[in-house]
Assembly symmetry: D2
């Protein structure tokens, strides 16, 4: 595709004055990147329900032209999935997706919630380089405020209560844009793009890492937009993701009338409460910082009935995988004994997980050098700290286990409010910056 010029009008944050941008970049041009991002923004789908999203990615991959497109169980290992919603919930999103795509062939392959895709381009002998982007959205109601660009510009989420509030719409765009750009160059080797589902619940990294396409990767890049870095800044290695486990917890006791015979009940609320209080009190780890939190507490019985059921989600983190595992083992012990304490039972299921895995020095150096040499990049940070968790670490761990290398790259963007808020948005100028840095890094790694 030749070089074209488009006139793109973008509103900068904090100003109602349009910013006029003249695009002169090569394909994929900025306009297409922005269009893609906005389209994905309009149709957000949460973890393991990215049906329309995956179908749309497949269409773009077909347009771009790649050697292999893998979806469903060909892309991920279904049995390794964590945090998969129940069938009712999945069906609802599946049905909705059917009304929004013609690609029922793709949807069929995704049935049961095996969302996500892997694109592969083979160009003969050479290293195998991978780029992982995540594709799921969040259960957040997007702002309708006129100062929120998606609302003002007409690409606000069309699905009530769901929103791309963490920038995964931009990540998909990075994946497609980088692929298209890399394909315009000559290289020898293999390039794979991993469109990973269910990152927000830290449930998709493990099945993708366990799938058939990660193990042979020699160098893997991941990418995240924003994270407090402004447009034009690039972080060569975003590290120190906290190792993470999330448990869904269901206590079961026995109900009884709270006035007539409280002693005949087995109180699931008391069990939950004892567990929660003591989980926060798991001893700190001498070697690093840990985390524990509970959310989503539920107990449906009226107060005149001793509760026979109570549930919650609990998550633990650690600076290292070992510290997180110390927390998880302690948490499970607390949960089990709290159930026993109040004569109840508890079922604990792992619904999300990510290890700690930092980027390699050589890859970070390579990305930092590219960023330093890029005109679009105004500032390069060599190493950054994520602080939160990311299941890219599952893929990076698998790659390293196979002798490979990798890093998690941050692409700065001015974002008016924090990630996971109803007014989160990205500066679309950063889309082409990301594609530029990532595609150069991929090409260099392919050498």
């Amino acid at each position: 595709m030749g070089s074209l010029q488009y006139l793109i009008v973008v509103f900068k944050y904090g100003s109602r004055q349009p910013w006029v941008m003249v695009s002169d970049s090569s394909a994929p041009d900025e306009r297409h990147l922005i269009e893609l991002r906005r389209e994905f923004h309009r149709y957000p789908e949460p973890a393991w329900r990215e049906f329309r999203t995956t179908a749309r990615i497949v269409e773009e991959l077909e347009r771009i032209g790649v050697d292999e497109i893998h979806v469903g169980p060909d892309a991920i290992e279904p049995t390794a999935r964590l945090g998969v919603p129940d069938e009712d919930e999945r069906s609802q999103w599946f049905d909705r997706a059917q009304s929004r795509t013609d690609r029922s062939d793709v949807l069929e392959a995704l049935e049961g919630g095996n969302t996500g895709a892997v694109a592969v381009v083979n160009r003969g002998e050479g290293p195998t380089v991978g780029l992982r982007v995540d594709i799921d959205a969040l259960p957040i109601e997007e702002s309708t405020d006129g100062s929120h660009p998606p609302a003002r510009e007409g690409f606000r989420s069309e699905i009530d209560g769901t929103m791309h509030a963490c920038g995964h719409d931009a990540h998909i765009t990075f994946g497609l844009g980088t692929l298209e750009t890399v394909l315009e160059s000559d290289f020898s080797g293999t390039f794979k793009v991993f469109f990973q589902p269910a990152e927000e619940v830290l449930g998709g990294g493990k099945p993708m890492a366990a799938g058939p396409h990660v193990e042979d990767v020699d160098a893997l890049l991941g990418v995240h937009i924003g994270l407090g870095h402004p447009t034009g800044e690039v972080v060569a290695g975003v590290d120190e993701a906290l190792a993470f486990s999330k448990l869904h917890v269901e206590f079961e006791g026995e109900s009884a009338h709270a006035g007539l015979a409280p002693n005949q009940g087995r109180n699931a609320v008391q069990a939950l409460v004892a567990a929660a209080g003591n989980m926060y009190a798991i001893p700190r780890h001498g070697e690093g910082n840990t985390r524990v939190n509970l959310g989503n507490l539920r107990s449906d019985n009226a107060s005149n009935v001793v509760a026979d059921r109570a549930s919650a989600d609990a998550e633990v983190r650690g600076e290292t995988t070992a510290q997180m595992e110390y927390m998880r083992e302690s948490a499970v012990r607390v949960l089990n004994s709290a159930a026993e304490m109040h004569d109840c039972t508890v079922e604990t299921s792992l619904v999300g997980q990510a290890p700690r895995e930092d980027g390699d020095e050589d890859v970070v150096d390579l990305v930092a050098a590219i960023a330093d040499g890029s005109e679009a990049v105004s500032s390069t940070v060599r190493r950054g700290s994520l602080g939160a968790s990311e299941d890219f670490t599952h893929l990076l761990q698998a790659v390293k286990a196979g002798g490979g290398t990798g890093a998690f790259v941050g692409i700065g963007t001015d974002h008016p409010t924090g990630h996971h808020t109803s007014t989160f948005d990205v500066d679309e100028e950063s889309l082409s910056i990301g594609v530029d840095v990532l595609s150069r890094a991929v090409l260099e790694l392919l050498e």
Copy 2:
């Protein structure tokens, strides 16, 4: 209305053989009682939403012919109501009622959820006698099993998730039937029937007691069906209702990312958990048995967010009002300090309440004598223990404060499963037994 004969077919529990009953009683005949009960059973409405129920009661009162019918703020003191649902919830039930009654005049009087009614018959000089029946239903999904008579006979609840599972449909029938029967006799004095809303949440007794019609009552009867007593058994005085208070509790803290900055949050889940654990641990009272229980726990934040909100219902009881108040004061102290402990705030609102108030010896004697003398009654229990709570005690307390007297009468009925279960049902033969005993007792108290 003259005495008629009807052939009524009733299925007894435990048998699919119809039981053929030839009615020869005077008005209200048994068939009408059964029809009334079944009609109310089909349209259950929960606390402060008894719109259609009240309208239908008014229609029956008009048919029977009474001197005064009071509804809305003329029947109860609106400001004393407890446990009133929010406007959205009330509107939904108000609209549903509009489609099921022509009496929009009545509905208008009930707006804002001032449900319930008081019927008054004046027959010159003499004492004022009252009968209180409660009219609200429960948030329970009624069984569809063929062995459940309402399902089999076609009068199962027509409102999903709501059910007369405690016999208040029979109580309304007792009220109307007793009124009609009493009116067939000559008496001098005043007879009032109180159709009280919101007993299940113990929220309607206080406003009805505070209303304009209770204070001058000289003798008050309340009535409850079942309670484990078989058909044909009557309990002259059901006493020892536990004094009761119910609190709705909302903790508010501040959210923060559970991975990045847990210290920046103020954790409402920790506050709730500390409160719950310590509320169960409020010291036992040396002078009598107390109760405490929590239900309906809710915290919506995902586990990766420090919860900024958490809520629950909490109830306390005591063998005496003073013991219950000791528990409530302790509970409120625990709630407030648990909030402070985790730097949160808490709002506590009283949503249900009932004191302890036992029946008077003289009235119990009178009812016991009537039961002993009744052919329909096979067994009389002089004093029974409720064990649970009842806000009839508010009315009885008000009557006693004015120098009056009263008792809470139990009318036995074979019930296949316990109160507040999805297969609760009453033996309809007990309807006429109840009307018989109550109307005789009222007439005797009027002398």
Copy 3:
């Protein structure tokens, strides 16, 4: 022994004016009763350490002249003892006793802490009647205040930190006085007096009940002074002793530096704290009032060390033995699971116990009739409620199991302050009242 007259000067409470009493009763005269009580008051010994006390009782029994005196394993079943202190503690008291009695023969029989005695008088055919009195003192420092009669009159405790603050000095006196009085009458049958150790820890009732002398008793009386009843009042049956169990609890974890490696510890304080919080929260029993309390908490580690040991005493009670056992089983479950919760272990040992066992109607009637007929008794209460716990119930239970009967008699006394306080004292006038009522009751039961 003939009737003598003594002039005894007693100071009444609230007055520094001596009250002059002219004694004209038959043996044992009041003066001797007062002297006995004062002597025992001066040498208080706590549970399982009543060495000098037992020796002195034996001396008195020898003076009175009985057929059999049983001490040591001949009096109680050593293996059933609860709450026995360790050998160091026992030796200390044993040595002290040796310096205060010449009866090393008796002391030898008590070695290992098998304190207490049983006196038996056989007078041919007839029923076997028993009287049980308890003999141990409390770990309370007696007041030195001049308004406290024992301090003023010179019979204050001579053993620092130990005091007869519950009236067991009077109880021993009742036992000896009643025995002496009964022996002055003719009767046919057997009379036994049980001088039971370790009542304050509820540890002596069980071994005495399991010993060789209780099973064949046909009628058993127990006695307690005071309990809020004034001098001259007698309670024929003090009932409703709460069933009781006391556990000593030792948590063991593993220490670690609280700064360097808290995760390497297993925190016994956390285990204790989780257990304590949840033991108070054991659900109330629907059928009766229960109790739970913890005391004597200990954890010796400095705060910069994760505690490897923590201990406490925990007690539970119930209106019935079954309710108490519900509490104990729940408490043990909580203790075990709290230990597991914090990766610790716990050892739980039963150190005190008493069932609920009320007096029989016939014996209560008999005692009430005697009290009514006694000039010394100004007021008779038929049934009283103890509220606290008593291990007399172990003996009564054993007697009933063998077909016998019994009651626990209360002898009123003006006591200036409550039982178990440093200024507790009895009105010595009540000593002869008690002996009078008890000896008459014993004689009547022997008929």
Copy 4:
């Protein structure tokens, strides 16, 4: 003093073979250092009770000859002391000290527990350099095992239950030895040695920093022996001491009989237990690792009494002073609200404290260079991490506040078991190594 040769026999750990050392160093010769250390080892005194220790230090200072010796309120600011024991305790140690020294003049100056000393040498114009050593011992019973050198060699602690188990005996020796060595050289400026009391409770650093001698110091060295580093290793800067606060906590409620009237009590055990459980659960800090621990729990009431008193020590730490203060403020909030929760009161007193304060780069460089250049030093570590807490940081903070600089130097020693154990011991060869490194560093800083 000229250079002498001594033959010193030392037993190395793990060997009963004597190690023969020929000393050829200048004064203070190694023999004297070892003698000093052994003498201080024999008379350990805990925090604020270092009476004999201070008197002995003064004697040595007089022998060495310094310009000023400050003790008592001339050395420290008495009002800033933390963790001072009560007068009974202090008197006991004061009296013991009187029997072990002739220097009643010194003891008098220390009355009230104002222990510690400051030595000052003025040599004209020039910088002021300080060396701080700590002098208190621990409440640990020293091992009597023959394999424990102090027991074998006859210098085991002569004070039961107290032991120099952290090496402060060596620290005092470092202070005296360094002073004597420095004085043998020519220098211009001022040299001060701070003999600080009460480091083990982190109670002496603050009053010494607040005293009159620290503020004008230009360069301050602290020193610690051992910490896991072997003999011959020197750590130029031991940093990352956790900021620390320790609270003594006393809950007061009201006692009541646990059987008769638990509701009339105000349960201090419940308050303590609620506080403890929730203190461990104070949210982790997002920016660094924190600590919390409780020890020394006490509640004396028997289990049949609702506890009116309960006490504990609680400590918190943080990687930064701000994080520690977050923990302390949270802990105090939890303590206050737990008291209120159970209707009790709580008194919280600060009994120990230390901020975080790391060494300066330039001083660390200087010490590292000296260590590298020393023949006695086999290994130099530039920066080490303490992990635990140290109140040297108070002095360093004060020096820095005045524009000065400083570092905390680690002198390795083979120690057979960990610090704070009953068999802790130091390799006495390290005494002269420490004096060598410290005196060279002091002299260089004086230039």
